[in-house]
Symmetry: none
Subunit: 239 residues, 2 copies
């Protein structure tokens, strides 16, 4: 498996100790590509200047949006320790989801693994960028997990050696369009809807993105659909 | 598996945050029996008085020796993230050792799982109380793991569900929109494309239908998409 293809994305982390702990777990398990979306500035600075910060934190990149942080990824997975929230997404237990991620990485496909803020986890907007969610099988009663521990447990699952004989031969995984492409399709479709007078609410862009995500478009289909929407949008504007 | 039979033993922990993190990981994964051997007094006190200390820390017991802390256990296992030290003991990777511990717990045998101090790990004297050692498969280059993360990863391995091939089949049959509905979406989309001047050939309707088929729309998504296309088509015609 190629650890290089996994992007760990921390969304809005607040605590320098947690950022450092996440980076340390990555280094422990052989993952080096850390991205932060809107980190609390002071926290990021403190984490970087800590004694044991190390190479992962030094090379970490900062972004303003989840879309930017996941651009180019073929598979975007959000993590949650909570099961009872009403989730619109497919939720897989870590054991099963981890196998799918391993399969994607084995096929050299870039994967983004998202972790939400310590206090609130991933927002609905954050989740709308995800193909599916992965649940760490912690007790519901306890609530959320510590961020650094959640990262450690997920990454361990990815490098874990299958002891159970043959292995769980990963479903031959359909090849998916990358996240930036899905984003373009969703954006353009939202625009076409706006200009057509489709009943609009603040949540429309999120709903549209989720819908497009659920289509599970392959690279070619995404191109074709983008061309279609572009043409229709042109006509709508011209009309 | 009975979580009650597992005793988590922290030997000479120094940092209150780590003690708290270990307790939190235990609660997350359903283990409640925490023991400390010669903790740094101030650290233990601080950990207990922390806001999120919770029941595990409150009930934690303190001992002067490893022998006392492990008394009555049928199986005593030491943990290490380091492989290169000259170890007199059998060392098992976490995946394999975890299976043995699960088996012991399933047989209602009390098990102690030892974690060493943040700085030095378990001493030779500590290890001499262990039946064998369990190694978390972290990169050797990186050195030791964070204590709270080590506890989280080991406990996760214990509660991990064996997926053994069976289950990771591609999510239990998603419900699909019926053929007539797919047809309507495809027809309307083809019409919108025609009216927008999308390059047309005789095969366009077929291509559009195939594309929509590949989206694997659920019943609700099909309705939503149909509504969207209808609105855009209305606008295109009106324009």
């Amino acid at each position: 498996m190629s650890g290089e293809k996994l992007r760990v994305v921390l969304v809005a982390p607040r605590n320098p100790l947690n950022i450092g702990a996440a980076a340390r777990a990555m280094s422990n398990f052989g993952f080096f590509d850390l991205h932060l979306v809107n980190p609390y500035e002071v926290a990021f600075r403190e984490a970087r200047s800590a004694v044991h910060a190390g190479a992962v934190l030094e090379a970490a990149r900062e972004w303003g949006t989840v879309a930017e942080a996941t651009a180019g990824c073929k598979l975007v997975v959000g993590t949650t320790a909570v099961g009872h929230r009403e989730l619109k997404h497919t939720v897989r237990r870590l054991e099963a989801g981890g196998a799918l991620i391993r399969a994607a990485l084995a096929a050299e496909e870039p994967v983004a693994l998202l972790f939400g803020s310590e206090k609130f986890g991933l927002s609905n907007e954050d989740m709308s960028h995800c193909h599916w969610l992965m649940r760490i099988p912690a007790r519901e009663e306890h609530g959320s997990m510590n961020l650094g521990q959640a990262v450690a447990v997920c990454l361990y699952e990815l490098i874990r050696m299958e002891t159970g004989g043959v292995s769980m031969a990963p479903a031959p995984g359909k090849k998916l369009a990358d996240a930036a492409m899905v984003e373009r399709v969703a954006d353009l479709l939202t625009e076409a809807l706006n200009e057509s007078g489709y009943v609009h609410s603040d949540s429309t862009p999120v709903k549209v993105r989720r819908l497009v995500m659920r289509m599970g478009l392959g690279p070619h289909d995404a191109e074709v659909l983008l061309g279609m929407v572009r043409q229709v949008l042109w006509k709508v504007r011209k009309g």
